[in-house]
């Protein structure tokens, strides 16, 4: 169910997300030395009231890694990793899970994966987009997602979420990946695609 966006627009955004997450999965694969699969991304336009619930149980514990985008597209890239998957990723990287290094290791994973996604988006659209340094938090899913949505809440009541899953082969471990552009950002993206 789309709010304000046509199916054609959402399809085009989904295709952007598909190519972006393809690049992100390659970067993750190189970093971990493992094959990485991607799910078919979804592009969803949701009301704020529904947006948090759509990502999962609001009270579930999760590690969130955020990168902002600045330049011609303003928005937030959010990576979500469950506690078990965060441990698995740390183990692959040779970092003691639960040690002081774990958050920095996860932030770096987020940085590399998120930046390659953003760079792919910049290439495809010809927009000048730069990622900002990552920040991490391990807490309730709802609190993390809500805080990302808040940053874009003043101009619009609709959250556009482009999300996909990166799955590390043989590890049963995945990263959920989400781009939340500002309302102006979405319009700019669609403009570049000739679908505004």
């Amino acid at each position: 169910v789309s709010l304000h966006y046509t199916d054609l627009q959402l399809d085009a955004l989904r295709e952007l997300a598909n190519i972006g997450s393809g690049k992100a999965s390659t970067a993750l694969s190189v970093l971990l030395g493992r094959a990485v699969d991607i799910s078919v991304p979804s592009a969803r336009a949701l009301s704020f009231a529904d947006a948090v619930d759509a990502t999962g149980d609001p009270e579930a514990e999760v590690t969130g890694i955020v990168l902002g985008t600045v330049g011609e597209l303003e928005g937030t890239v959010l990576l979500l990793v469950s506690p078990a998957d965060a441990e698995a990723i740390c183990a692959i990287l040779g970092v003691e899970p639960g040690s002081g290094y774990a958050p920095s290791a996860l932030a770096e994973v987020g940085n590399i994966v998120g930046s390659s996604y953003i760079n792919a988006l910049a290439e495809m659209t010809g927009m000048a987009i730069e990622p900002t340094p990552p920040a991490t938090a391990t807490d309730m899913l709802g609190a993390i997602v809500e805080s990302v949505l808040c940053a874009h809440a003043d101009a619009s009541d609709v959250a556009l979420m482009l999300d996909s899953q990166l799955r590390v082969e043989g590890e049963d471990c995945s990263i959920a990946f989400m781009l939340v552009p500002t309302r102006d950002g979405v319009d700019d993206l669609l403009g570049r695609l000739g679908l505004a």
């Binding site: 609190a143 809500e146 805080s147 009541d157």
Partner: protein, 167 residues
């Protein structure tokens, strides 16, 4: 009945046994206002401090300057009296600390806006669990007017003890 109050929503109840809850508050504020004498309670899930001339088309209650008056007026309509109202604030955290992209302190600004709007209406804030960098869940028990808060991985803590219900 348990009612989940999502981002930008507001709920009011006078039905004993009802529970109002906002799950996983980050930078948003869960504002509970209760009149325990009248057995009325309300909860608003506030996202931003002020509409600044841009009332959202669908959810005006995401803004503190719309939600606070609407919550109080709604309670009065349900038989509550302003003189007996008590307010509890939960949330307003900065989940990603100072490292957040475009590090606007929305949580802190939300808390300040809600406090001042509540104070303007002379309603006392009797308890708070605000700020820091942890997510929180607020639960309001309509019958006794009790309010509890829970952090990730933590136990439920009373912020406002429920009123003893006469047998």
């Amino acid at each position: 009945m348990r009612t989940t109050v999502h981002m930008g929503e507001l709920a009011i109840s006078t039905t004993p046994g009802d529970e109002l809850v906002a799950l996983g508050l980050g930078s948003c504020i869960g504002l509970a206002v209760v009149d325990r004498r009248a057995g009325a309670a309300g909860l608003a899930h506030i996202v931003l401090p002020e509409a600044a001339g841009r009332p959202g088309p669908g959810t005006p209650h995401k803004f503190a300057d719309h939600a606070v008056p609407a919550l109080i007026d709604g309670l009065v309509e349900q038989g509550a009296s302003r003189v007996f109202m008590q307010a509890v604030l939960v949330g307003g955290a900065s989940m990603f600390g100072d490292g957040a992209p475009g590090a606007l302190d929305v949580g802190g600004r939300n808390a300040a806006a809600v406090r001042s709007l509540v104070a303007e209406r002379r309603i006392p804030v009797v308890a708070e669990a605000v700020g820091g960098s942890r997510g929180r869940t607020i639960t309001v028990d309509v019958a006794g007017g009790g309010v509890t808060v829970r952090e990730a991985g933590g136990a439920e803590q009373a912020l406002l003890a429920p009123m003893e219900v006469a047998a």
